[in-house]
Every structure is written in C-alpha cells, then in structure tokens.
Amino acid sequence: MRAARVALGLAILVALLPARADEELPPRVQAALFRKIFLYEKDLGRDPPTVLILVGSLSSGRGQEMVQAFSEAGVEASAAELWGRLPAINERTVIYAFPDVPIADLRRLATSARVFTISGDPQMARSGRVSVALRRKADGHPEILVNLPVIRAEGRELSASLLTLATVIREPDALPRGSPP
C-alpha cells in the first residue's frame, strides 16, 4: 500500500510538472513504475528481482541515484560498468541501462543470460536496445514502451493486460545493427 501511495503521489507530481516530449521520468517514479512492471512479467511477478544498473562513462553519477530510488521502492539494486567487474547474473536479474552503455555488449549479455532489460530513456526501447522503457507524455502522464521483438529475444513475457496500457513497438527493423537475432 505504501508503494502504491508513493507511486500515486509521484504520478500526481509528475502530472503537475510542465510536460516535454520524451522527457525522462524522475528516478523514484521510474523505480516505482518498474517495480509494478516486474509484477506483470511471468518469472519476476512472485518476488522482486535484483536490478543491475549498467552505467557508462557519462552516466556513472546518475547510476547511484537510480540505485537509491530502487532501494526506496523496495527493490535490491546495484550499479556497475559493463566492462568492469559484474555481479552474478541470472534469470532473476534485471539490467537497467543508460544510453551510453555499449549496445552490442549489452545485447550479447542480455540475450545469452536471458536477462530482462529496462531503461529510463524511451529511445532505448524504440531503437531495440532494451525491452521496456518509460517516458513522460505531453500531458505529463507516464508512458510504458515495450519492444516486443526484444522482449521475445530475451525470453521474457509480459501480461497482455499490461500491454494494453503500454505502447508496443513491433518493428524488428528497429533492432540495431550487430544485435543478435
């Protein structure tokens, strides 16, 4: 209930802010929304997963903000660089990627380990780098973007009822060159 209230409050707050197209949501809002989205994934719905926040050279500072936001939302999270020392990765691991993470290495890792990938940058989902991303719409409300080919490639499955709320991207052409089939 507490999380729901927080999410509701954040949603109202976001709605009151002046809206801009493709604007990223605040880390706490993202964490609260992603925590709910995890509930609609087939393997992650029972227990909260562990979130690995991959940062690039430009986003190392924002990584800590996201770790804190996920922790406040009740989700265990840690930040690391893709070429650095990574913690153990399994099917209950979710990778939150910033735009400056090398795309080819990210996709190879996600596909091989069947890891669910998310991002706060909507362009990451549109371009097929991650499965799910968030954005703030022009009316201030958040929007969920789901890249269906990518999520299938990662062996994940979202509830159909969630897909009715989300903007579904179906074009496999959106996958970046060099990504695994």
């Binding site: 729901a4 709910k36 969630l162």
Partner: protein
C-alpha cells in the same frame, strides 16, 4: 345432469377422449408452469454466472490500470465493456471512493455499497486488488429485459407446443377411441339387424380380429348360431304343435259328431223299430182292402193313397234304419264306372222329369273296395240334392278321376248349376236333420249319412258352394290296389 350420470350415459368414444384430454391438459399445464419456473430460474442463474464471469474478466483486465492509476486505459476498457450485451453501466472506483473511470457511471451509485439490484437490473460488485496491492471496486449493472423477453418467448413457445401436443394427443385419443368403439358399434348394428330379422347380418361380425373384441365377436357369433338353431327348433315345435292342435280339434269334432250320430242313431233306431211294426200292419191291411175292393169302387182311390203314403213312410223308416245301422262290412272290389252308371240309371228318370241335364264324363279305369250299396246311396243322395237345388234347364254332372301320385285315391264329384248354399250354412250341412228344403221334402239325413259312409270307408267328403254359382260335392275313397299281372299272362 350429474358428472356420474354423464360419464355413465356417454359413449365410449366420448369417455376415452375426455379422459385422455383431461390427462393431456393436466400434463400440458404442469409442463408449462414447471418449464416457465425452470426457465426463469435457470435464465436468472445463467445471467448471474455470465455477469460474474464478465466482472471477473473486466476486473482482471482493469488490474494494470488500477496499478498504474491509468484512467484513460480504464475508461477505454469500460467503454468497450459497456458495448456488451445487457450491460447498463460499469464503474471503477479507487480505494478512497473516487471514480477512476466509468461508463454510465452515474447509474452505478455510491462505490463499494453492496446495494440490492434495482427492478429490472442485476447489479454485480467486484472488489479488485492489483498485483501491486492497490485496491479498487468494480461495479457493473446488467439489464434483465433481455432475460424477461426470452422468458416470455419461451413461455409462449411452451404454450404453443403444449397446445399443439394437446390437440394432436386429443385427435389421436379420439382416433383410438373410434378404433376401439367401432367393432362394438358393428356388433350392436349386427344385433339390431338380427332383431329386425336379417339373419345374414352375423356375417358382418369382426370375428377375424385377434384381440378381446375379436374373441367377444366370436362368442357373440356362437351365441347367435345357437339362438338361430334354437329358434328354428322352436318354430318346428310350434308347427308340430299347431298340427297336433288341428288334429285334436278335428278329432274332437269327429268325436262330437260320432257321439251326436250315436245318440241320434239310437233314438232313430228305436223310433224306426216302433214305427215299422204299425206301418207294416197298416200297409198289410190297406193292401188287403185294396185287393178286395173293385177297381171302380169309390173308396179304392183313398185306399191307394193310404198305401202310397204308407209306402213313403216305410221308405223313410228304412232310411232312418240305414242311418242308425252299423256297417255291415261286406265290401267288394268294384269299378268306379259301375257305381256311376247305377246312379245315372236310378236318377235319370227324375232328372228328365225335372228338365235337368244329368251327365257323366267317361270314368277312368279305376276301382274301389267298398260296400257298393252304401257308396251308391252316397252318390244318390248327392245327386238328389243337386237335382233339388237345380232349376229346370240346369245341369248336374257326375265325375270320377284318380288322384296323383300313383292313383292312391279316387275322387267322385257331383256338381250342379243350382242356387248354391250360403256360406253361413255350409258348416251345418252335415248336421243330422239340418235341411234347407221345404217341410216334407227333406229329412236332413242324406248328407250326414253320406259322410258317415264315406268316412267308414276311410275317405273324406267336402261341399263347396257359392250362392248363385252352384255347388260341388266331392268325396275321396282309397283306390283299390291294382292286381299284379301274372308273368304268364
């Protein structure tokens, strides 16, 4: 008319038809009522199940919208749901009672209130807890109009089917009753026809059927056959009894006649015997006086008159003695033609004197065994009566013929063209001393004596007459047996 008497007096067809109609009507009413109740309850249950299932689906689909507080997605969902059949309204309220989304939500009323369904609608309230634990309430209303329309349609269909089944059943029952009653009516008709005298009607009995009616028809047929046999036997006994009665009557008449004749005969015999002696003395003395009286004596005519009348009285007494005398039994074989010739010879002079034609047709070759004098007396009496009854110029005919077959009897007849005898007198002509002749001309003994002689010979005599057309007297005697011819002849 009471129900019991109506049932008792109605025909079998009406009773079977009425009984089946009552059963069919009861079953039809029961089916219509029970089908209506069953359809109503099952229709309501089906609608409730459908409403609950629909609410479950909507609640499940609305989970993400509740989770993410997405009023737009929730409104789209409820709008899509609202286009469903029989859906009146649907509303999704947050846990704090505020409306998240709705379709015709104003009809849903206060959120979370478990209100009773209003008239004509079914209200379903479904609490929702999202995957992230957010609570909400889904309220949906469904119209019962479709269900009620379907109920009315089903009831009308059930009524139509029940009415059709009732009519078909009634028609079949009447046909069955007719099939059952027809052989009974047929047997009744046969009984009526037989009562009216149609003996051939029993052929129409339905005896070829193998059922109870067929067995009853067979029994009825046997009873009819038995009755016909009994009736024929009864008729034969009746005829026999009639003949016996006729014979008894004839015997009684004969006994009466014999008794009468015996009584008269004894009186006449005594009287004749007493008269015969004085008459003999008178006649002897008168004849002696006549012999002693000359022809020219004046008293001779008176004596001759006394002698004629005495002779007449003597003849009368002799006739009376013949009447009372027992048969002498001296019978002889004599040809019928000989008898007729004797009578013609004896009566010819009298007929000529009276100007009457007395004739006889040639007699056939036949003979009788009789006391010839008696039969001649019979013929003479009959001829005498005929001559008395026939005026001058008339005709009296004697006839003889043999009766077929095999000439067992010989008929003698005397017919005249005289005045005839009245019908009321015919029955009395054989009574002794009955005569229609003037006093002094008839004794009333001739015909009784003739009847006595004929019957003593085993024959029979009848008198047929019609006033103004003459009289025919006939008597029959057994024919004499024909002598067998010798093979050497």
């Amino acid at each position: 008319m009471s129900m019991r008497s109506w049932i008792r007096d109605s025909s079998l067809q009406v009773r079977i038809g009425g009984f089946v109609a009552a059963i069919l009507f009861s079953v039809a009413v029961f089916l219509v009522l029970s089908l209506g109740a069953v359809f109503r309850s099952q229709g309501r249950a089906a609608l409730e199940a459908r409403a609950r299932g629909m609410a479950d689906v909507v609640a499940d689909a609305a989970g993400p919208a509740v989770d993410f507080d997405d009023a737009r997605a929730a409104a789209e969902l409820l709008r899509a749901v609202g286009t469903g059949k029989d859906v009146l309204y649907c509303a999704l309220h947050r846990a704090d009672g505020t409306l998240l989304a709705g379709w015709n939500a104003e009809r849903a009323g206060a959120p979370g209130v478990k209100a009773e369904s209003r008239e004509g609608e079914l209200r379903v309230i479904r609490p929702i807890v999202s995957r992230s634990g957010v609570a909400a309430t889904l309220t949906m209303g469904f119209s019962l109009a479709g269900l009620q329309t379907a109920e009315r349609g089903a009831l009308a269909s059930a009524l139509a089917i029940a009415a059709m089944a009732f009519l078909i059943g009634l028609a079949l029952a009447l046909a069955l009753a007719r099939v059952l009653a027809r052989p009974i009516e047929q047997m009744t008709d046969v009984a009526d026809r037989i009562t009216r005298g149609d003996e051939e009607a029993s052929r129409n009995l339905p005896v070829r059927r193998g059922d109870e009616v067929g067995r009853m028809a067979c029994a009825f047929d046997r009873m009819l056959t038995h009755l016909q046999r009994e009736r024929a036997a009864l008729a034969a006994r009746g005829e026999e009894l009639q003949r016996s009665l006729q014979q008894i009557k004839e015997t009684q008449d004969q006994l009466l006649q014999v008794g009468k004749m015996a009584a008269i005969g004894s009186v006449v015999a005594g009287l004749s015997h007493e008269l015969n002696n004085p008459l003999g003395i008178i006649l002897g003395n008168v004849q002696g006086l006549i012999r002693r009286t000359s022809d020219d004596h004046l008293e001779r005519k008176a004596l001759l008159a006394i002698e004629r009348q005495s002779q007449r009285c003597r003849g009368l007494v002799r006739t009376l003695l013949d009447f009372s005398r027992k048969p002498n039994g001296q019978r002889q074989h004599i040809a019928a033609a000989v008898l007729v010739d004797h009578v013609l010879a004896l009566s010819g002079t009298l007929a000529r004197d009276r100007g009457i034609l007395l004739e006889a047709a040639p007699a056939p070759d036949c003979a009788v065994v009789v006391a010839a004098q008696e039969i001649e007396t019979v013929l003479l009496n009959l001829v005498s009566n005929a001559l008395d009854a026939t005026p001058a110029g008339g005709r009296v005919a004697l006839g003889v013929r043999t009766l077929e077959p095999e000439a067992r009897a010989v008929e003698f007849s005397v017919t005249d063209s005289g005045t005839g005898i009245a019908a009321e007198l015919l029955d009395r002509v054989f009574d002794p001393f009955f005569t229609t002749k003037p006093p002094g001309q008839g004794t009333g003994i001739g015909l009784p004596l003739a009847r006595r002689f004929v019957e003593q010979h085993g024959g029979k005599i009848v008198i047929e007459s019609s006033p103004g057309q003459g009289t025919a007297a006939r008597f029959w005697l057994p024919a004499a047996p024909t002598p067998s011819r010798s093979p050497l002849a």
